[in-house]
Symmetry: C2
Subunit: 129 residues, 2 copies
Amino acid sequence: MEAYGRHLILEMWDCKRDVLNDANKIIELISNSANEAGATVIKQFYHEFIPSGITGVAILAESHIAIHTWPVEGYVAVDVFTCGRNCDPQLAVNLLISGFEPKDHTTLEIKRGSPLIKGTLLSEAFSTA
Amino acid sequence: MEAYGRHLILEMWDCKRDVLNDANKIIELISNSANEAGATVIKQFYHEFIPSGITGVAILAESHIAIHTWPVEGYVAVDVFTCGRNCDPQLAVNLLISGFEPKDHTTLEIKRGSPLIKGTLLSEAFSTA
């Protein structure tokens, strides 16, 4: 059995601060990154926290994108989860890295639904970049 | 620096089929699991796919919960991501396992924003159950 989807977990540190509290920019980045990956946005939502921080989420025809920002610390947590063979979530991640301009970032990929996750071959279900 | 949040990735196989296409039940499970974890739901959304499958997402005051169901295959992909010290995402996961009744499941925990993810100590940023 193949995996049901590719879930990329993107961690970004020391991002460009002015983007992290700009809801319109984050909505635009989510939308553009979905397009870049070949995914279709079905619904998109966000919430602005007080005093700072934004959560943006898109339900995709192919799963979801979620972004949480910590503007004071400069940290951003991103999930790009796409199912099917017609999307490449790495392209969404590349666009988001360009948009947030982190000084440091890590991407983990989890093959969701893969039988590798069930057993002892856990390391094979992950890859890092 | 501590992690910003705990992200539990729950994989469930051979779930109870009638739940997987029941949007109301999934919304209720997301809401109850957030409460169980000590989290606050800010916004909640879902989408019903044709011919089957549901995506449900909740933006939490403490990050997010996302659920995707594959009713034909019996597979469900769940993410429970909570930040702060007052939530326990494992309690949400426990409730979701009770609700979906999988014959097989795996939980991975990723410490989001942890410096362990940056370096070579990747295995320490993960744990499985």
